[in-house]
């Protein structure tokens, strides 16, 4: 197996162009497991750890540009303010060791339906985009809604690498919940991300581990957006009716298409999604209400 070690981004793109079958490795927390388990033996590994640009983030025009190789530990440490949903999700990833190595770029690269970055990225809004590049065609932005194609399949072309993710700075409360049968270090049985976007008066959701790809609960988003609009709740911040919370939970549940597997039954997954949806909505809305009242 060849081991390619580009020293910078351009070199990395060149290496990927020359050897499209080279498997990028960032934190290695997915790649090394697969190699150890002998799932596959790539012809070459393309080590991105010397590409320092990938480990940086900036905020420009209210958008976080999160380098593909910023590890979860730093997201928790440095970005809990602008990206609260993603930071909550980062807290739930693996163990301290995994959070020190694992990255959002790697999570997107693996595109597992159980990846914990996905629900908060989906919830963060339709403007979220994955910036990818190839030497041949340069840079392009893939909207997050177009990124996940199937189980462990994403929209990356063979000669492309993920550069960073563009995520708008949170303009309202965000939450993330994840179900696992133990209290740490667990792959999600189901996960849910929720974000309120008071600025454009939308609601974002993301479902994890309950369909072949991460996905939104579109009807739930639309339903809640409608209720908030009609009842002028964005302005008042008044408590949500329990029937609204209930209905939201049901719609989130209905958006899932889970399977039975060793980690949990499809029924259980659906059930927990409705509970997580209700709880996260309650938490987000309580926070939002507090903000409105304290601003008034």
């Amino acid at each position: 197996m060849e081991f390619l070690r580009p020293a910078g981004w351009d070199e990395a793109l060149a290496a990927k162009a020359e050897c499209p079958t080279a498997l990028p490795i960032s934190g290695g927390t997915d790649v090394m497991v697969e190699i150890n388990f002998d799932v596959h033996r790539p012809a070459a590994l393309l080590d991105l750890n010397r590409v320092t640009e990938l480990a940086e983030w900036t905020i420009e025009d209210g958008v976080v540009r999160l380098g593909a190789a910023v590890p979860y530990a730093r997201i928790i440490e440095e970005l809990s303010g602008p990206l609260p949903g993603l930071a909550l999700a980062a807290h739930t990833v693996g163990s301290p060791q995994i959070r020190n190595r694992g990255t959002v770029g790697g999570n997107l690269g693996a595109a597992s339906p159980a990846g914990d970055s996905h629900p908060p990225l989906l919830a963060a809004g339709r403007d979220v985009a994955v910036e990818v590049a190839s030497r041949a065609r340069g840079t392009r932005l893939i909207p997050i809604d177009d990124f996940y194609l199937g189980v462990k399949r994403n929209a990356l072309a063979p000669d492309e690498l993920i550069r960073r993710v563009h995520v708008p700075v949170a303009d309202g409360p965000q939450q993330f919940s994840k179900i696992g049968t133990r209290n740490a270090m667990v792959i999600a049985v189901a996960a849910f991300g929720l974000a309120l976007h008071p600025r454009n008066r939308t609601v974002g959701t993301g479902i994890g581990s309950a369909a072949p790809t991460p996905r939104r609960a579109v009807e739930a988003e639309e339903y809640l957006r409608g209720v908030l609009e009609e009842q002028r709740l964005w302005e008042s911040g008044a408590p949500l009716g329990s029937e609204v919370v209930q209905r939201f939970g049901e719609l989130v549940r209905a958006a899932a298409a889970p399977i039975d597997d060793v980690r949990g039954t499809a029924d259980y997954r659906r059930h927990t999604l409705s509970v997580m949806a209700r709880r996260t909505l309650t938490w987000c809305w309580n926070d939002y209400g507090k903000q409105i009242r304290s601003a008034a």
Partner: protein, 786 residues
């Protein structure tokens, strides 16, 4: 009676000062810091110049006929030095712990998912792996025999071992069974004596030992045609006993040395890679190393028997047990392993630490095409305890009695009879343990206004900020036998040498005891210090140059090999004193060894040991046998079957998110009688570790099998408790000496594993009101989404 409550470091330090580093103190383990720092050399770290890597081809099918095996492509792979099948085995083709029913490599059929068919040696693990893939096996796949119903109807569903293939007294697909009747048994008249009757059916899933150090070892061919094997195991001599016949070698040509063991819990009692590495080494003339990958490890060792248990209990209105009627069906999987002993324990201990005048019990282990099951911490007793303790709670509820008081009312005590007719002739403080565990302070209630989410079910997964959380409390008590039972003369050997090194008296202790993390070597040094009055003790590597130390299992090693070290050290001491008497004509009768000197209580220091020893080392070997036991009568289960009993009581406090079915064990208290705590810190470690493993069985640990196929052979999906799942475990230790045991000690390691699981399930039942009859309890059970 002396008791100690050891809940914090400060108390421990106080205890340590009691005596320096002898028994009763808590010197630290020599391997502890190395393990924490990642510097300990495990068997998987073994290395030899010129060594080859061995690897096995395993069956993807739980039941199939092998039509052909073609190794030619594999053999042609450059770097491959040997590919062997059963046809290449020079000696006996079968081995087994109790019954030699397992082929070293599959012969014409496979009986479980993962059974080894062929082995490869190559100069690189990658090459070996590729070569394994090139072995072509043609199978005729058969429907696996996996359920109790299928196993018990071989005419319809077939035999796991054809009748002519049996190596035991087995019949049908029953590997071993034990019946037991005491008092009047269970008849209509007996039932009529009970005012309250409760019945229950319970199920225990297949738990794994989940040790972290995968099976591994290194076989080095020797010039004499024999082989030296360095391996992580639980019992060197019984490994050798099984390996040598397969290699066609006399035992003395198969020499074993213990390599660094990364946990065992019963999973290393059976052979794994031993025979394969030796076969390859002898064939190639090169050292051969085998290290299982994590998934292979799940196929490479036996697991805890899954069980189905049916209990019926009757009691009088005032809360006295009248009878128990039980049937325990254990799934032993494809090969016998330790199934007979597991059945013996289930039958003899399956009524718990209670006085029950009338008992009928039938315990059996089945052969099936599921993975083989055998030894795991507390075997037989663990499965049964979930059944009988669930029943005790049910009875207490039916009688409207407090569950602890109900248990106390029926608790056995010294002098009582076991259902086997064995009189308990050592302390059995069951009622006392229960009283104490109940009296321990409860943790503070959850603060619903501002909970720390790390302490809630789900923790950092952020599933609850206090919503849906209900607290529950549950109690249980259990019984476990210590040592090997049913007439087995289970002895240990120790050699102790006392000599002067660098101007100091130094003791050397040599045994074949497998240190698997239990702290045996620490305790051996403590015993030598106490008996010989020296500070410096070295522990010789464990190997087969010395006689057997028996297995590191059944909570027996401190009792048995510790006892042997004590005997040998005492003999050395007597020899030294005798030497002094000869040399100096001492007449005192109160001569002791202390602080490196020979002292007389009346006359003071007689001579420094260094002077008396001079150049003449003293070295003596002793065997320690426990008192004899008897086999159980197959029909009545009567017999003086067990060496010693140990008891532990637990209280579990849990928080359950009743909407999501997530559980957080908040606290798990243990009170245990240990006879004498030779090393209190190690004792607490054993009790806390045992409780944690029991917690795993209660709420998460299960090998999931469908139609004989293992579905979760990884630590991604076989979940064991993390530190966030492991609550504070306050431990109270009682020290009621057992007059039959060295220092009065009682085996410690298994009793908490037996008793803690039911307390957790009881607590979850209390929180949810759901009648849970299967472990591990899954969120689906608690949310009705199975």
């Amino acid at each position: 009676m002396s008791t100690r409550t050891i809940q914090d470091q400060k108390n421990l330090r106080k205890l340590n000062q009691a005596s320096r580093h002898g028994i009763g103190a808590s010197p630290l383990r020599p391997d502890g810091t190395l393990k924490v720092k990642g510097e300990f050399a495990y068997s998987s770290d073994l290395w030899h110049e010129d060594m080859l890597w061995g690897m096995a081809l395993r069956s993807p099918h739980p039941r199939a006929t092998i039509l052909s095996v073609d190794v030619s492509e594999a053999l042609k792979t450059p770097g491959v030095h040997a590919v062997l099948t059963h046809e290449d085995i020079p000696g006996s083709k079968f081995y087994g712990l109790e019954i030699a029913d397992q082929p070293a490599l599959a012969i014409d059929k496979v009986r479980y998912h993962g059974e080894a068919i062929a082995i490869v040696a190559a100069d690189h693990p990658e090459t070996a792996r590729r070569a394994v893939r090139k072995i072509k096996v043609e199978y005729r796949v058969l429907t696996p025999i996996t359920t109790e119903e299928q196993c018990l109807h071989p005419e319809t569903y077939g035999y796991v071992h054809e009748p002519q293939e049996y190596k035991s007294h087995a019949h049908g697909n029953i590997c071993h069974e034990q019946r037991l009747v005491c008092g009047l048994g269970v008849t209509d008249e007996v039932r009529a004596m009970a005012d309250v009757i409760v019945r229950g059916e319970y199920e225990v899933g297949m738990q794994d030992q989940a040790f972290l150090g995968p099976e591994s070892g290194l076989a080095v061919p020797a010039e004499d045609g024999g082989v030296d094997l360095y391996v992580a195991t639980q019992w060197l001599h019984v490994d050798r006993q099984q390996i040598a016949p397969v290699l066609g070698l006399p035992e003395e040509k198969v020499r074993l040395t213990l390599a660094g063991v990364g946990g065992a819990f019963g999973g290393r009692e059976d052979l794994s890679m031993q025979i394969h590495a030796c076969l390859l080494a002898l064939r190639t003339g090169r050292p051969v190393k085998i290290v299982y990958s994590r998934d292979e490890s799940f196929f490479g060792h036996v697991h805890r028997h899954p069980a189905r248990l049916t209990y019926e209990h009757g009691a009088t209105r005032d809360g006295k047990l009248v009878y128990s009627d039980a049937r325990i069906v254990l799934d032993g999987g494809a090969y016998a392993s330790a199934s007979p002993a597991v059945v013996g324990n289930a039958a003899s201990l399956g009524n718990g630490p209670y006085v029950i005048p009338n008992v009928r019990m039938h315990a059996l282990a089945l052969y099936s095409n599921n993975p083989s099951c055998g030894a795991m911490r507390g075997f037989g007793a663990v499965q049964a305890a979930f059944g009988y303790e669930s029943q005790m709670d049910k009875l207490a509820a039916a009688l409207d009695m407090d569950p602890v008081e109900f248990r106390r009312l029926n608790a056995m005590a010294e002098g009582d009879l076991m259902p086997t007719g064995q009189r308990i002739d050592a302390p059995a403080p069951v009622a006392e343990l229960l009283r104490r565990v109940k009296d321990m302070p409860l943790p503070p209630p959850l603060d619903p206004t501002d909970p720390d989410i790390r302490t809630l079910p789900g923790a950092r997964s952020n599933t609850s900020h206090g919503e849906g959380i209900v607290r529950g409390v549950g109690y249980s008590v259990g019984i476990k036998n210590v040592g090997f039972s049913e007439g087995f003369d289970d002895y240990s050997t120790a050699r102790v040498r006392l000599e002067v090194i660098g101007g100091e008296p130094v003791a050397m202790v040599h045994t074949a005891m497998a240190e698997v993390g239990q702290g045996g070597i620490t305790v051996h040094a403590q015993i030598a210090r106490t008996e010989l009055g020296v500070e410096q003790v070295t522990i010789h590597p464990a190997n087969t140059e010395i006689g057997s130390a028996g297995s590191t299992s059944a909570s027996r090693q401190t009792y048995m090999t510790g006892g042997a070290v004590k005997l040998a050290a005492e003999a050395v001491k007597q020899e030294l004193i005798a030497r002094g008497r000869r040399r100096y004509g001492w007449t005192q009768h109160d001569i002791e060894l202390a602080d490196g000197k020979v002292v007389s209580r009346s006359a003071g220091v007689l001579v420094p040991m260094v002077e008396l020893l001079g150049d003449g080392a003293i070295e003596l070997t002793r065997e320690h046998h426990h008192r004899p036991t008897q086999p159980f009568d197959p029909q009545t289960g009567q017999g003086f079957g067990h060496v010693q009993y140990s008891f532990c009581a637990n209280r579990a406090v849990v928080d359950v998110d009743v909407e999501l079915g997530l559980v957080k064990v908040v606290e798990l208290t243990a009170v245990q009688d240990v006879g004498k705590a030779l090393n209190p810190l190690a004792v607490i470690g054993q009790i806390q570790g045992g409780c944690t493993q029991a917690l795993g069985l209660a709420v998460m640990e299960e090998i999931i099998i469908r139609d004989g196929e293992v579905r979760n052979a990884s630590f991604t999906d076989y979940l064991i408790p993390t530190i966030l799942d492991t609550p504070p475990i306050p431990v109270e230790i009682l020290e009621l000496p057992d007059p039959n045991a060295p220092y009065g000690l009682r085996g410690v390691g298994e009793a908490p594993t037996v008793s803690a699981t039911p307390s957790i399930v009881a607590a979850i039942r209390q929180a949810t009101g759901i009648a849970l009859n299967r472990i591990p309890v899954r969120p689906e059970h608690l949310t009705g989404t199975l």
